[in-house]
């Protein structure tokens, strides 16, 4: 009986963790599902990281940049420096593991994709996608 209870507890815990993981991918914030972009593409960022980023800048526009060559923290420092000079950028996050850069822009900013791409290139990196989160 004890073994059965233990097994049931383990199963329940595993199922709970899996459900939590699933929630992480489909978590909604202020009524918007985070894995859909305005261009219809799927968002592939760490959900928890994304939620933390978004919750710190409510109302701002969020841009997710997919970057190639971003393998070194020391070499990615310039991203913060470069985008930090733009007064319309309110928050920056660099995720080395997924090769993504998250930017928050003040709500009235017109997102200039060419400028973003140039800033990434000025850091010696290449942009493969720029996604603007659906508001």
């Amino acid at each position: 009986m004890k073994k059965f209870l233990l097994a049931a507890l383990l199963l329940a815990a595993t199922a709970s963790q899996a459900a939590h993981h699933e929630m992480g991918h489909m978590h909604s914030h202020e009524g918007h599902v985070h894995d859909t972009m305005v261009d219809g593409q799927k968002l592939s960022v760490d959900a928890e990281r994304f939620d933390n980023f978004v919750s710190a800048v409510p109302g701002d526009q969020i841009v997710v940049i997919s970057v190639q060559g971003m393998v070194c923290d020391f070499c990615a420092r310039g991203i913060e420096k470069t985008f930090g000079k733009d007064s319309s950028v309110t928050k920056i996050d660099v995720d080395l593991a997924s090769g993504k850069v998250l930017l928050a822009y003040s709500p009235d900013t017109e997102i200039d994709r060419a400028s973003i791409e140039k800033n990434i290139l000025n850091n010696g990196l290449n942009t493969t996608a720029i996604q603007v989160v659906e508001k």
Binding site: V71, D73, F74, G124
Partner: protein, 199 residues
């Protein structure tokens, strides 16, 4: 004697240099302390394809100083989702004596876990000619997130035509934020400490 000191200091300074081109508008300040010389090197990156710098080296034994100007040019870069590969051409010329100069071909390939780099360098000055080749391999024992303390365990091996003997020694590299420290040790060359700050 002056030429030998100059040649040695050029070698020491540029061997330990990593990522010789920064982001556009970025400055990098480096300090190196080895058995023979100390040096301070600053470079600025006006364009993603090259950096310009000034180097000031002082010999510990004679007390003589050797200022030089440097240029690093990015010949080729290949970025992928998980790696970056670079090929550089490096040159330097003595500010007080233009016959002192060097040029080098250097390359590196890096992922978040692995590093491999090489350098082939020709140094000339006051009738002396020196050719040095080096390779460096590294592994990150853990994958830190952005902003964490990052650690690399490395091994460097080099050989030049004056000594004609290969030396291989361990190097530890740490960096956090814009600051990097690299420490190498070999019984022949003693400690070599390299500091870098990018801003």
């Amino acid at each position: 004697m002056k030429a030998i000191i100059f040649i040695c200091s050029l070698l020491l300074a540029s061997n330990s240099m990593s990522r010789p081109i920064s982001y556009v508008g970025g400055h990098t300040l480096m300090a190196n302390s080895g058995a023979q010389t100390d040096n301070i090197y600053w470079h600025y990156t006006p364009n993603i394809n090259y950096s310009l710098g000034l180097d000031y080296q002082r010999d510990k034994i004679s007390g003589e100083a050797f200022p030089s100007a440097r240029l690093t040019y990015l010949i080729n870069r290949k970025n992928t989702a998980t790696s970056q590969r670079n090929l550089y051409l490096k040159t330097g010329i003595g500010l007080d004596n233009s016959t002192n100069h060097f040029y080098a071909l250097a390359g590196d390939w890096e992922t978040r876990r692995l590093f491999a780099g090489f350098s082939a360098k020709q140094v000339s000055g006051m009738g002396y000619e020196l050719f040095e080749q080096s390779v460096k391999l590294g592994i990150a024992p853990y994958l830190g997130a952005y902003g964490d303390l990052h650690t690399w365990l490395m091994i460097e091996s080099k050989k030049d035509n004056l000594d004609d003997r290969r030396i291989t020694y361990p190097v530890l590299r740490f960096f956090k934020g814009g600051a990097l420290i690299e420490v190498g040790y070999h019984k022949k060359t003693d400690w070599d400490v390299h500091l870098m700050y990018r801003f």
